[in-house]
């Protein structure tokens, strides 16, 4: 428990934490992202033209879910920082969490592209489910998803705007008191958290679970948003490690305590994700009800008994290794958490693992017997990476400004 000496801090002028004006955008990064985007578009169009298998559409859905999770997870993290009055990183931590917020409205637009591929993805579009046609039909599905995503993205943007206000940044600078954050953000943070849980659960139930309409799992929504939350954390950790090397020395991310805290979050929430995974697995495994087990059997998750080998077993088992085992083993001690090389590698592997997780949740429902990954899917993935990169630029500029601002460096813990 840190007991700080009782020195008073001099009052900080309102022109704190400059905005992103002084930060130049790197041209090579824009060019690379633009090229990736073009590759993606080309691959997507090529995939649609050869309409035999839904490569383009499944890749689009997987990448939409993955990148949307990273961006939205970051916002949920920022909201939970406000809810717990976290000031260990000053405004820098909040900007870091919000780095990818510009992708959110773009994701909303990208969602509507899925409308045109609905027949290739969701079986109930062409063959209505006998048991519950009221829920799974095209008009209601897109109406509710559209409304939910619109509401959440609008709330997110409002939240980010308030979070960047001067008085909120001022509050984040001083760790010396028990004052609450300013009223506006105090009301928005719980709203973002609640809407996040509800909308992400809805996205999981609708976009992923309905790919296999016979299957159900009540924890699936929470499992999805736990994974999204962790995706946000490791994206933050990776960004911090990368920026640490590239920003002038003495920046916020060179502080041991910041690395330590990011490492602790990575560790703790990977365990939480593994918990939500195990909670579903043990109930389905023990009950042995065919309507529930088929989902795991197709993915090769159940070993032993009558299940034979399926190629899906390899990516399926890779996921918990990358998302849980590696962070657990490599981030247990204090020193590894503070070592940027270790934290960065674990974070990168974690992001890859979460991408494979989204893939394994979505694609086996469309292709139960073989892994259909080909150059079209790879191209679409690169395209999303490019778009995400371009959208990350405004948020990252603010993060860089916060990480190098003298006021933040003065106020942050050692």
């Amino acid at each position: 428990m840190a007991s700080q000496p009782q020195t008073s801090r001099r009052p900080i002028a309102p022109q704190i934490v400059p905005g992103a004006e002084g930060i130049r955008t790197s041209i090579p990064i824009i060019v690379v992202c633009a090229i990736l985007t073009l590759i993606g578009v080309a691959g997507f169009v090529a995939g649609i033209m050869t309409e035999t298998e839904p490569h383009a559409w499944e890749a689009f859905l997987v990448n939409f879910l993955f990148f949307f999770s990273v961006a939205q997870g970051g916002l949920a993290i920022s909201a939970s920082f406000y809810l717990t009055q976290a000031r260990w990183g000053g405004p820098g931590a909040y900007r870091l969490a919000e780095s990818f917020y510009v992708f959110l409205p773009v994701a909303f637009v990208l969602f509507w592209v899925l409308f045109f591929g609905r027949a290739e993805l969701w079986p109930w579009v062409t063959k209505p489910v006998a048991k519950n046609p009221t829920w799974l039909n095209t008009p209601f599905f897109f109406a509710r998803e559209g409304f939910a995503l619109l509401a959440m993205v609008a709330l997110d943007l409002w939240f980010v705007r308030v979070s960047q206000r001067v008085d909120v940044r001022q509050w984040a600078l001083s760790n010396d008191n028990i004052t609450m954050p300013p009223d506006a953000i105090r009301r928005l943070a719980p709203a973002v958290a609640i809407v996040y849980a509800v909308v992400m659960s809805l996205v999981a139930f609708d976009l992923i679970m309905s790919l296999a309409p016979a299957w159900k799992s009540t924890l699936f929504g929470a499992f999805f948003f736990a994974g999204a939350f962790w995706s946000g954390i490791v994206a933050m950790a990776l960004t911090a490690v990368v920026l640490r090397g590239r920003l002038p020395s003495g920046n916020l991310f060179t502080r041991d305590s910041i690395m330590h805290d990011l490492g602790k979050f990575t560790f703790a929430f990977s365990v939480f994700w593994a918990y939500t995974l195990f909670a579903q697995y043990i109930v389905i495994w023990y009950g042995d009800i065919p309507n529930e087990t088929f989902f795991l059997v197709v993915r090769g998750a159940i070993i032993g008994g009558y299940t034979g080998f399926t190629p899906w077993r390899i990516p399926t088992w890779t996921v918990p290794v990358l998302v849980w085992v590696i962070p657990f083993c490599f981030l247990m001690g204090v020193k590894p958490k503070k070592t940027p090389a270790i934290l960065g590698t674990v974070a990168l592997l974690g992001l890859v693992g979460m991408w494979i997780e989204r893939y394994v949740l979505v694609v086996p429902s469309l292709s139960p017997y073989r892994i259909p990954f080909n150059w079209i899917e790879a191209a679409v993935t690169l395209g999303f990476l490019g778009i995400f990169g371009l959208c990350a630029i405004p948020g990252l500029k603010l993060t860089i400004a916060a990480a190098t601002a003298p006021q933040v460096l003065e106020a942050a813990e050692e």
Binding site: S3, W135, V198, K216, T218, A222, I282, V283, I284, G287
Partner: protein, 454 residues
């Protein structure tokens, strides 16, 4: 909000904190012993009825096919749930470096220990042949059987006994510096009593160095333990295929519910204690506010779980589940269900108002309803789902017998009796940690009681 009769000291020193807590440990008066006698009487009645049950058989309870689990298991799950928030407040919030935890965590930990002790009685109460209870332990035997490690009941035995051991250890270790303080201020038999419990602690730098590491690690181990124990308890039900029980969300849902009922119980105990023992200078509205926020958060998680379960039942249109849920809302136990929804989901929404979170009487009422609601939730899930299982010819409604009712009442009395004894004889507020966080205490005293003076 503060109706203090004397001005509140907004700048307490270490000595003030010591004085405030030592006062609680002064020899208690007649009222206290009358209260203990009352609790002991109820415990005595419960013990007598339990003895009768052992002698005559489980038929004296209301358990009949198909409801082979009802009030006793409800009590078990309820008390284990209460236990969890203690460890949450002391261990998990320690890891988060939360500032308001210091004044309330010892009380919560104490509550945990006695709640687990109470909970641990119920599997024994529920056994027909209590004298064979040791069969649960794995030791070489001639019965051609070992405990079935594939059974959730065996997981329960391991989880709950681990929890009892670790929470007792955590409480005992955390007590050491405080008990050393009490030892140095006490005389007579108390001094000897505290000296033994303090293990000779002198507060040297070497002792602190190892203590801090040990405490941090215990907190780090207790955190996953909290989550795992109530998940294991929930899996007693989720492993079955019974509609209403077989649901993947049970583990985090029960954990959230446990924390909800536990923090509500902390407030239920804390608010009267604060008034009766004049603790307004150590436990401020700031502490109550933050505890109330935890109640609100977990109440929202529980509401999310109810809604998700209902939605997925409707989504899947599984005929067995639809019938079970319909019976849950509109059947024989319907009124209990709606009372539960009121207590757990609807009424706690008033805690969105900061004014209510900081006022003792409304907060107390909310937490009473939460406690009632959470007890009913266990009952509705357990007895309600069993009542409408797969086979309609087996359906049957459970009615509690006087034995079960008095044992339930006795369990509350047992818990309150042990808790009250602890509170008067051992430091129920952590002097050490309160002193360590004295800056935040001073700030909250200023902000809460004299907000106009900045």
């Amino acid at each position: 909000m503060a109706a203090a009769l004397e001005p509140i000291n907004t700048n307490p020193t270490y000595a003030d904190i010591d004085r405030g807590v030592h006062r609680i440990m002064d020899p208690p008066g007649l009222m206290f012993w009358a209260w203990i006698a009352f609790c002991a009487a109820l415990v005595g009645i419960a013990a007598a009825l339990w003895t009768r049950q052992i002698y005559v058989g489980l038929g004296v309870s209301g358990l009949r096919q198909p409801n082979m689990w009802a009030v006793y298991i409800t009590n078990f799950v309820f008390w284990v749930g209460i236990a969890h928030s203690g460890t949450l407040i002391s261990a998990i919030l320690y890891l988060f470096r939360t500032r308001w935890r210091t004044a309330v965590y010892r009380l919560a930990e104490t509550m945990t220990l006695f709640a687990v002790l109470t909970a641990g009685l119920f599997p024994l109460v529920h056994l027909g042949r209590v004298w064979n209870a040791y069969w649960l332990l794995p030791y070489p035997n001639e019965r051609y059987l070992q405990p079935n490690f594939r059974s959730p009941l065996v997981w329960d035995a391991f989880a709950v006994s681990t929890y009892l051991t670790i929470s007792a250890t955590f409480l005992l270790m955390g007590l050491i510096p405080d008990v050393a303080n009490a030892r140095d201020a006490a005389k007579g038999w108390r001094r000897t009593f505290y000296a033994i419990l303090s293990f000779g602690w002198r507060g040297t730098d070497e002792q602190w160095r190892h203590f801090q590491m040990m405490y941090l690690l215990l907190a780090g181990l207790a955190t996953p333990l909290v989550i795992s124990v109530h998940s294991v308890v929930s899996w007693d039900f989720a492993m079955a295929q019974l509609p209403g029980w077989h649901s993947t969300i049970f583990a985090p849902y029960f954990v959230a519910g446990a924390i909800l009922s536990g923090v509500a119980m902390v407030l239920t105990l804390l608010i009267p204690m604060r008034r009766l023992l004049n603790l307004e200078e150590l436990i401020t509205p700031w502490h109550l506010d933050n505890l109330a926020k935890v109640v609100l958060l977990t109440s929202l998680i529980v509401s999310y779980s109810y809604i998700t379960e209902t939605f997925i039942t409707w989504y899947s249109q599984d005929q067995y589940e639809v019938v079970t849920f319909h019976a849950r809302y509109f059947g024989h136990y319907g009124p209990l269900f709606w009372l539960m929804v009121w207590g757990n989901c609807v009424f706690p929404l008033v805690l969105f108002s900061p004014r209510i979170r900081r006022s003792t009487v409304p907060l107390f009422i909310v937490t009473i309803f939460v406690n009632i609601g959470m007890w009913l939730e266990r009952f509705v899930i357990i007895a309600g789902s069993l009542a409408t299982n797969f086979n309609p010819s087996q359906w049957g409604i459970f009615h509690p017998s006087i034995t079960e009712i008095m044992i339930t009442v006795g369990s509350f009395a047992w818990f309150l009796m042990l808790f009250s004894l602890f509170a008067r004889y051992l430091p129920i507020i952590s002097m050490t940690e309160l002193k360590e966080g004295i800056r935040w205490l001073r700030q909250s005293l200023r902000d809460d009681y004299y907000p106009s003076i900045k």
